[in-house]
């Protein structure tokens, strides 16, 4: 492909709507073309932002609407309407999980307030747990040890690729992505303007510039999809590498209203 594909073609590529040969051609071109590769990232980021917007809208649905949703975790109660593909847990965590039908799982929710360079946003974090234990995401409350201008998001290990996208944070702001248990994770950071970062096992500290920064954290287990959204600032998408672009763009959040967020 000697000419650059238009944004419509790139979007179709992201959505998996091209033919096989077309998909390969676009992928091959993007691999060698910085501008198009960034355009694709931009499209994915915009799509992810829009997905987050819909999550916020869906959150405003009347509680009565979720009164008759499916019972995903087999406990006889239904949670709020599901918007994600069910997660499959391939291996039990430290404690054995009770036997459940395939596809059954339980969600926990944590709410994290993030301050990035003075801009506040709420991150709603979700992780899967096999039993109702309290190994939740440990969120920071508004007056926890969050320094001004510093954002922190703590997640216990999840599988797949944890991608934190932050934009418009402003110079001088920093973000820490910390994995509990010191799980060995592959961490990479990319973004325009060569953001500075330090990575140690299980943790990455990123200095954000004024540009979009993406942090990729690859975790060892198998997880399908989840999304952690901070409306306006940070967006975290966890996806398995094999998920198609179209499916990856339609992740959402499952909130089990029976579980309370654990606040520090």
């Amino acid at each position: 492909m000697t000419t650059h594909p238009g944004r419509d073609v790139l979007l179709a590529h992201v959505d998996g709507e091209l033919t096989e040969p077309e998909q390969r051609a676009v992928a091959a071109h993007a691999a060698g073309c910085e501008a198009c590769s960034q355009a694709v990232s931009g499209i994915r980021d915009s799509a992810a932002l829009f997905a987050g917007v819909l999550v916020a809208i869906d959150d405003e649905e009347p509680p009565a609407w979720s009164a008759s949703t499916r019972d995903y975790d087999g406990d006889g109660r239904s949670g709020r309407a599901a918007r994600v593909l069910p997660l499959r847990r391939e291996g039990p965590p430290a404690a054995p999980s009770p036997s459940r039908a395939s596809g059954a799982f339980r969600w926990a929710a944590g709410i994290v307030l993030v301050s990035v360079a003075g801009v506040s946003a709420a991150i709603v974090g979700y992780r899967m747990q096999a039993e109702p234990r309290s190994e939740l995401i440990a969120p920071a409350s508004a007056d926890a040890q969050v320094e001004p201008g510093v954002a922190s998001l703590v997640m216990t290990p999840q599988a797949g690729v944890l991608r934190v996208t932050l934009s418009g944070a402003g110079a001088g702001s920093r973000v820490f992505v910390t994995l509990a248990d010191g799980v060995a994770a592959r961490i990479a950071v990319e973004g325009t303007g060569s953001p500075r970062f330090t990575a140690v096992t299980g943790r990455v500290d990123v200095d954000l510039g004024a540009d979009v920064v993406t942090v990729h954290v690859t975790l060892p287990d198998t997880l399908r999809e989840t999304i952690v959204m901070a409306a306006g600032v940070a967006l975290v998408t966890v996806r398995q590498d094999s998920v198609s672009p179209a499916a990856a763009a339609t992740t959402g959040i499952l909130l089990d209203s029976a579980l309370q967020p654990r606040m520090e």
Partner: protein, 172 residues
């Protein structure tokens, strides 16, 4: 809903009765995403389903999902055009008693900004992006909004860009 009470659900060739609830719920979510109005979403979803049932009975439906969503989309467009549907902004009801005041304020502000961004888009941009994010294929999207399939990525790419710009400027 008269159709359901008359047992049309069981007789419908296009929607198995056990999927009816699921279809209605998803349609309702779609309209809520489009309008931000839960009452309107209920009404429109019911009305669209009613029309769909009748049309399906009369064997007028070839692509069920597209037909249903096109009907709902058209109802929304008509009502918006006639200004019969005011886009209300209900005050978020706090059902989570563990939220702190800071989080309440945060959440209210977030939803306000998000709604403003969505409403700044044209109806078609909104429909396009919501349908795409809801997992519809381009061909289905084309059937719902009434364009050629090959136009969908062109229109959607522009809509996504307009959304990005609107979103970036949401604090103003």
């Amino acid at each position: 809903m008269a159709c359901v009470q008359a047992g049309v659900v069981e007789e419908s060739p296009s929607v198995p009765s056990h999927e009816y609830d699921e279809w209605l719920r998803e349609l309702r979510r779609y309209v809520h995403r489009l309008t931000g109005d839960p009452d309107a979403a209920e009404d429109v979803a019911q009305e669209a389903m009613l029309r769909f049932m009748r049309a399906a009975q009369e064997r007028r439906v070839r692509t069920p999902r597209a037909w249903l969503y096109r009907t709902a989309t058209n109802i929304v467009r008509d009502q918006a055009r006639h200004e019969a549907m005011q886009r209300r902004r209900p005050v978020p009801v706090d059902t989570d008693t563990s939220a702190t005041p800071e989080q309440d304020l945060e959440r209210g502000e977030v939803i306000r900004q998000v709604r403003t961004v969505l409403e700044s888009l044209s109806p078609r941009d909104r429909e396009l992006l919501i349908l795409r994010e809801s997992g519809f294929k381009y061909r289905e999207i084309a059937g719902v909004i009434g364009v050629k399939t090959e136009s969908v990525p062109v229109l959607a790419a522009r809509a996504l860009e307009r959304f990005r710009v609107a979103y970036a400027g949401r604090h103003r």
